[in-house]
């Protein structure tokens, strides 16, 4: 059976979850298709009076939509946004994002746990965005999270895997899918995270701020697939004290 990502009983072939922020609408479809993403994140905001274009018209119909609760500063606000998002009738997935730090945009882990428990109880497939803390990850799983989404570095920073060691601990200890989300800046960083055994990558700014946006989406898709294959293949051992020749050191042309 093909290697699939399973979240809340839903199966995905792609391990690339794409954030749709910072793109012009016209480019969204190209980005989704080049990246091979099967899940796309959206935010919920006030609609403007009098006909405006809608992002849903630019996302291919077979894509799974993942609304987020961005804007929420508390569990209560996150729950309200989630319930509103579900009213738009695009499925039960919700990314819980509760942020009250406006400088680094770090998630409030404890409000996230509260929101996760409420929403999981209401039948949402909850994917909480979190600061990588093992105790919090365990609490999120107990609260009914279908996956956990630890940050690599601050949202929008392109800084990379600053929290590498702590994500690795989650990989070793947490049984639900681990999706690294926020701060990944290069395909190589996404690949590295996948090599560690992370289950999927969520990425937005690194693609949206590239010089050639669809091509960068493709680079990320390839990197994520490559990292996953490397993980499944099993990385070779590392020698720290010496080298080892690839061919025998005998049988040269001249003695």
């Amino acid at each position: 059976m093909a290697d699939q990502l399973i979240i809340g009983g839903h199966r995905f072939t792609s391990r690339f979850i794409l954030g749709s922020g910072k793109f012009s609408l016209e480019i969204v479809e190209a980005v989704v298709e080049n990246g091979g993403a099967e899940m796309v994140t959206l935010a919920l905001r006030r609609a403007n009076l009098g006909g405006e274009e809608n992002i849903l018209d630019y996302i291919p119909k077979q894509i799974t939509l993942l609304p987020n609760t961005s804007g929420a500063r508390t569990a209560e606000e996150a729950v309200k946004i989630a319930r509103l998002a579900r009213e738009i009738n695009c499925g039960n997935f919700i990314k819980v994002e509760v942020i009250r730090d406006s400088k680094y945009l770090f998630p409030d882990n404890y409000e996230t746990i509260k929101a996760t428990e409420i929403l999981a109880g209401e039948g949402f497939i909850v994917m909480p965005y979190m600061y990588p803390d093992l105790n919090v990850a365990r609490d999120l799983v107990s609260a009914g999270a279908a996956a956990v989404m630890p940050l690599a570095s601050p949202i929008g920073s392109n800084k990379g895997l600053s929290t590498r060691d702590f994500i690795e601990i989650l990989v070793n200890e947490i049984t639900v899918p681990i999706i690294v989300d926020a701060g990944i800046g290069r395909p190589s960083q996404a690949c590295e995270a996948m090599e560690m055994g992370v289950d999927a990558i969520m990425c937005n700014t690194a693609v949206a701020t590239a010089k050639n946006v669809p091509l960068m989406a493709r680079a990320f898709g390839q990197a994520i697939e490559s990292g996953r294959n490397a993980y499944l293949a099993g990385l070779g051992r590392v020698l720290t004290e010496a080298g080892e020749a690839s061919s025998p050191l005998t049988g040269f042309l001249e003695d």
């Binding site: 006030r46 609609a47 009076l49 809608n54 992002i55 319930r83 509103l84 738009i88």
Partner: protein, 64 residues
Amino acid sequence: MRVNGKEVSLDNNQSLMQFLVANQFDVATLAVARNGEIVPKANYDTVILCEADSLEVVRFVGGG
């Protein structure tokens, strides 16, 4: 009536659906909270708005 924080005019006995359509909202792609309570889509035709109401009308946008 307030919609998304702004005062708007309201016809007498206008249902939520009529108001949304008259103001060119694409009903299928949005959600509405009226006075803090989410209005189920099935009720858009039967909820009659009044001047004291405060609506939040939301839709999806790009986000990460």
